[in-house]
Symmetry: C2
């Protein structure tokens, strides 16, 4: 999959093909992981002298709107961007140890069906980051002592002992 494949998507949607946009898309396309806006800027600047922060964010916003790129917030204080590829996937993030694993694209299929059928709503459920507890951390955090019955909190809270 080469980035030039998508340049027509832009023009045909009535957007202009600027060198900034092309370089940004190329950098995301050449990477097979998640990149932050800053990482994208840095990689573009290696080849294309200067590039403004706003242009990067505005280009990313456009690519996301066109469905070319997926934004994801892994809870690290900055959003990451990844090429939208089929089949897509989701990420499972352990809140205690940080371990990240992947889940299949069809994970939300039943949710999507229910929303269509019962709520007449067409959801966009590509590429989520789902937070929770990995197998190991479920075990080690088993002795939760919540005040009420429900599964409140995520097990990340550790009882503090004085002295």
């Amino acid at each position: 999959m080469h980035h030039t494949e998508f340049l027509d998507d832009l023009r045909q949607a009535g957007h202009r093909l600027t060198p900034q946009r092309e370089m940004i898309l190329q950098v995301i396309c050449e990477s097979d992981g998640h990149l932050t806006a800053d990482e994208i800027s840095a990689r573009v600047r290696k080849r294309y002298s200067y590039l403004n922060k706003s242009a990067v964010y505005r280009a990313l916003e456009l690519f996301v709107r066109l469905g070319l790129v997926n934004p994801t917030d892994f809870g690290q204080g900055r959003v990451t961007y990844e090429m939208h590829r089929d089949p897509h996937h989701h990420h499972l993030v352990c809140r205690r140890c940080g371990k990240m694993t992947q889940a299949d694209a069809d994970l939300f299929a039943p949710v999507e069906k229910k929303l269509r059928d019962e709520y007449a709503f067409l959801p966009a459920l590509d590429h989520f980051a789902i937070f929770g507890l990995c197998q190991k951390c479920q075990r080690s955090g088993a002795e939760r002592k919540g005040r009420r019955s429900g599964v409140r909190g995520s097990g990340a809270e550790v009882k503090k002992v004085y002295r």
Copy 2:
């Protein structure tokens, strides 16, 4: 549900009960909608002279960690906070017209089961904002002309016509 009910949750988890924390929790508890950090600050300050920005964010982070409060990003540039109440709920947000409706708590039950059974992962799936298209906007946006087969984009993109 009165906020004093939760003050023991704090102390018993080894956290200190400060006037700031109590006022912040009270304000969230008295509201039955979603409040931004700024709105919370403003409401607290009406009763409790001064209150620092950092204290608000740090208190909110704590309440979220303890499962007392749910944070939600509706895509408006600032996170909102709401008391965690049972039964909880999810929000369906139309990307085109902005219409918001609610969905039942059990929406993600099949996802939760699959993640537990097949991925040994215990997800936290309370209170999501799910973006997509409402019924009306699905109809009006039906004539999408995507370059490729899949459901790319969310219909928010409108074809521009020159002259």
